[in-house]
């Protein structure tokens, strides 16, 4: 108890932030979110359909969860800033998951545009959570600009490769003045646990749950993994050794 994640002055009991895209259907999405225990759910901001009414996600999610809009797909600071402002108007939240994509194939961030957008949005009063590279320098610059957290990628978005560079993630966690949320690349529960063990304050994931064979069961597994990883981090892992160190007493061995 008492181990809450604080972002932008808001306390969260769950360290798992979850996306709302790609589920087999809406009911599975809702059940998976419940099973995950997440309080924060990400959404995108997109053009409405002009050909007829479609139920808005706000209608089904907004009263139960803190919706975190993203700027996914934006390729320039200008588009990301406008999307953030539209999101604030749409959802009446200052929180924004800032994504500025530099390459449509790999979905790696455009750091130059990301920093520009982050600076503008922080000045405009947003609680900025930037999706960024697993680069300690970029993360430090984002924190210095006033971002409420940094969200380095574990691996490319949707790849499920896990944490490709755990040493860099650990270094970012050690140095960061703001919470580090591992964003993107999680494939299964052990990846999420590792992120927390390395010192991440939380994980944000979508595809690993939405595209699992059983999304609701995977959501429960992710919840348990995040809690276990956090507990292990707080408990403190033993130092790694190159060779064996017997755990049973060496004295009193028969025949000696």
């Amino acid at each position: 108890m008492g181990d809450t994640l604080i972002i932008g002055g808001r306390s969260l009991n769950s360290r798992l932030l979850i996306g709302s895209a790609g589920y087999p259907n809406q009911q599975v999405m809702l059940d998976a979110i419940v099973a995950s225990g997440a309080e924060v759910v990400t959404v995108s901001i997109r053009r409405i359909s002009l050909s007829g009414y479609s139920e808005s996600l706000v209608d089904v999610l907004a009263n139960r969860y803190l919706l975190l809009p993203n700027t996914a797909g934006c390729a320039t600071a200008r588009d990301a800033v406008l999307t953030a402002r539209l999101a604030r108007e749409s959802l009446e939240t200052d929180w924004i998951k800032l994504e500025v994509i530099g390459d449509r194939e790999t979905l790696y961030p455009d750091v130059e545009e990301l920093l520009k957008a982050a600076a503008e949005l922080v000045t405009d009063g947003f609680v900025v959570l930037p999706y960024c590279n697993d680069d300690p320098v970029t993360c430090r610059k984002l924190a210095d600009l006033g971002c409420a957290a940094v969200m380095p990628l574990g691996a490319p978005i949707g790849s499920g490769l896990g944490l490709c560079n755990p040493r860099a993630i650990e270094l970012i966690c050690t140095q960061s003045a703001v919470p580090v949320i591992l964003d993107a690349g999680i494939g299964t529960a052990s990846d999420a646990a590792l992120a927390l063990e390395l010192g991440c304050a939380g994980v944000l994931l979508n595809t690993a749950i939405a595209k699992a064979r059983q999304p609701v069961a995977m959501a429960a597994a992710m919840r348990a993994a995040v809690e276990a990883g956090r507990d292990a981090h707080r408990a403190g892992r033993i130092p790694k050794r190159l060779h064996a160190d017997p755990s049973s007493p060496q004295l009193g061995l028969i025949g000696s």
């Binding site: 990400t42 901001i45 053009r47 808005s56 996914a72 999101a87 108007e89």
Partner: protein, 70 residues
């Protein structure tokens, strides 16, 4: 009098001197609908100004709402 605007990436012909509220009504979109937001020429048009904000010929209008996202 009619004019041409860009609406969510498509070219549309609408009557001149249309307000944002008038455009939404014309499109059959309930302006009270939750989650709605609108930008014109790259700038947010706050909901509270929709009844006065007029749309100029050639304006680039984007109407958005939250959808699934990661």
């Amino acid at each position: 009098m009619s004019m041409t605007i860009r609406l969510n990436g498509n070219t549309e012909t609408v009557e001149a001197n249309l307000t944002v509220l008038g455009l939404l009504t014309r499109l059959g979109i309930d302006p009270q609908r939750r989650g709605l937001a609108l930008a014109m020429n790259g700038a947010l048009v706050p909901r509270r100004t929709w009844s006065e904000a007029t749309i100029a010929a050639g304006a680039d209008v984007e109407i958005v709402q939250p959808l699934q996202g990661g």
